[in-house]
Point group: D3
Chain length 131, copies 6
């Protein structure tokens, strides 16, 4: 019954983060496949596919929240990539992270900037490796 939501969510995730489904399925999905299914069906289908917000804006909200919460560095890195994929530029992502110093303190913002640095470096390395 939930096939359609599952497929739509998985595609949505792949659209904003091409290796997202593999990260989920090869990691926590090995022991908690239904949690990954709920991530597709609820998070990426029911929420992310809603028309009410521009995909860019959704990534701003997610990057802001994960920077402030500070409990999920790898997911923050993935959503920084996703934000670049939906059309944010690096400067905008850094602006969002900087603003979080006001709401969650400097350590949270500095740690998120460090994660952004590593993501940008990784992307530059990949770009450079291409002929």
């Amino acid at each position: 019954m939930s096939n359609e939501r599952y497929q739509r969510g998985k595609e949505k995730l792949r659209e904003i983060l091409p290796d997202g489904p593999e990260i989920l399925e090869d990691g926590p999905g090995q022991v908690a496949p239904d949690l990954v299914r709920h991530a597709y069906e609820f998070a990426y289908s029911d929420v992310y596919c809603r028309p009410g917000l521009d995909p860019n804006i959704r990534q701003v909200a997610t990057i802001a929240a994960l920077t402030a919460l500070g409990n999920a560095p790898s997911q923050l890195g993935n959503h920084i990539k996703a934000g670049l994929n939906t059309g944010l530029d690096r400067e905008e992502i850094i602006e969002v992270i900087m603003q979080m110093a006001v709401y969650a303190g400097f350590p949270a913002a500095l740690n998120a900037a460090q994660i952004a640095k590593e993501v940008f470096q990784e992307l530059d390395d990949v770009a450079e490796a291409k002929p």
Copy 2:
């Protein structure tokens, strides 16, 4: 020396939340005037006046973070008002809050929606009271 930053920050706050300076100065500012000064100089001047992000986007980031953190309900209410003032519509604010159920859980999102409900009601009451 910091006069210019102070003035610019206070005006920025008044621009996005007309009674913001009074809320700060009559509340915590009574015992911590320098903390309020830093809020003007650092948060509202150094950060909010930066050109790199649309004011709307800044409110999205702040509403997302305060919903997720859940530690500042009155500031969340004020930034919901500020978001409406910078040009977000009610539906967009609710979308941001809903998305936070994915990142910070349902209680955080439901509590933020309840705060939004009270802000919207207050604004409707004020609008209705006008001739």
Copy 3:
């Protein structure tokens, strides 16, 4: 399409907390009806209806988490009531709360005990008012 999940979730919530649907629908549901819908469909249908855990155990997990997080006092109160409805006794709920002093500190545990006190008192008052 989601009708069945919606109905099942709403019934599940009513089963463990008879006035739960009214609390959600008359509160945050007034501005965020789809967030309440997701609470029914995802939280109370997809998760709470799963057979893998005793309903009592689910309430233990929720009471522990809400005590530790400390960001949702009214939801904690409701899940204390829900725990009594699924079959936990008052002493067990207090034990769970006490244990949280170890993991989240004394203020979190003491505040949760205060909420439990108010819930127990409310239930005693209702019981006493009956002929």
Copy 4:
């Protein structure tokens, strides 16, 4: 067997906050007396009676932590009173709270300053009421 620790902890709490035992025992202690007992025996006897830190410094640490965590406003108010009783002055308490804007963000610091304002006002009102 734990009588001595219990008595010593309760006296320690009364020393730094004269109505502390009543707040604990009449509040959460009504449903969780052993949690209050652990607060006396562990927190106020085993930890607070240790000689390694000046009582003032202990209150600085507690006020900083409760400001940053933001999950226990009434305990923060009580420890602001306790800090005044152990010898901190109001300006020092405000300095600690202000510094937390750096580590936990402005909303956390502003909310703590608001609590300090209310505590100071309450103490001034009591002082004024005396002949």
Copy 5:
């Protein structure tokens, strides 16, 4: 004087997590032996030895809280092992973690599932290595 509580707590910890005392004593205990002593005397003796809750239920509460808080991944891994030792099965632990997506968001739940995956793998490797 506290010898009995110390011994009882250390044995309790060893009962639910055989290498628990070494983890504590060789790690943080090297600089904070009294903190480890309090962990034995307060956490593992005063709290965990109380008769009011089944050991399984205590692990459910702890796993739920550590998943939701997200600040202590190594302790979460240890309590997943402890839960298996007190009698929870893997599926029940995953159910508790999944439920936390509702209360603390998907990143917290996914990170806990990843930790569970690593614990299960480690246990399988040990089991396989035995003749």
Copy 6:
């Protein structure tokens, strides 16, 4: 215009943590130089240079907050070093960390003690390597 605050803040940081500026500038400063600038100008100049609190006391407050929040282990390590530099001794730092078990739970305190252990070890190794 902000040159003076920038210089004063950078010097203040170097005073309490000699390699602090390099940590900031070579890390997050590579992508977010203005965030590092704000750390100097706001955190280390506007806040840390205020005369109202002894430098030791400021480190107690910071160590307490970072232990309790648990979201910034590397910054906590740096502030443990900074505390030793401003004049706290190791025992006092451990006392502050132990006290946090009361306010933020044992995992937070144990993880901070583990970080302190590693910092102390690193400092001993450096001291031993000197002729």
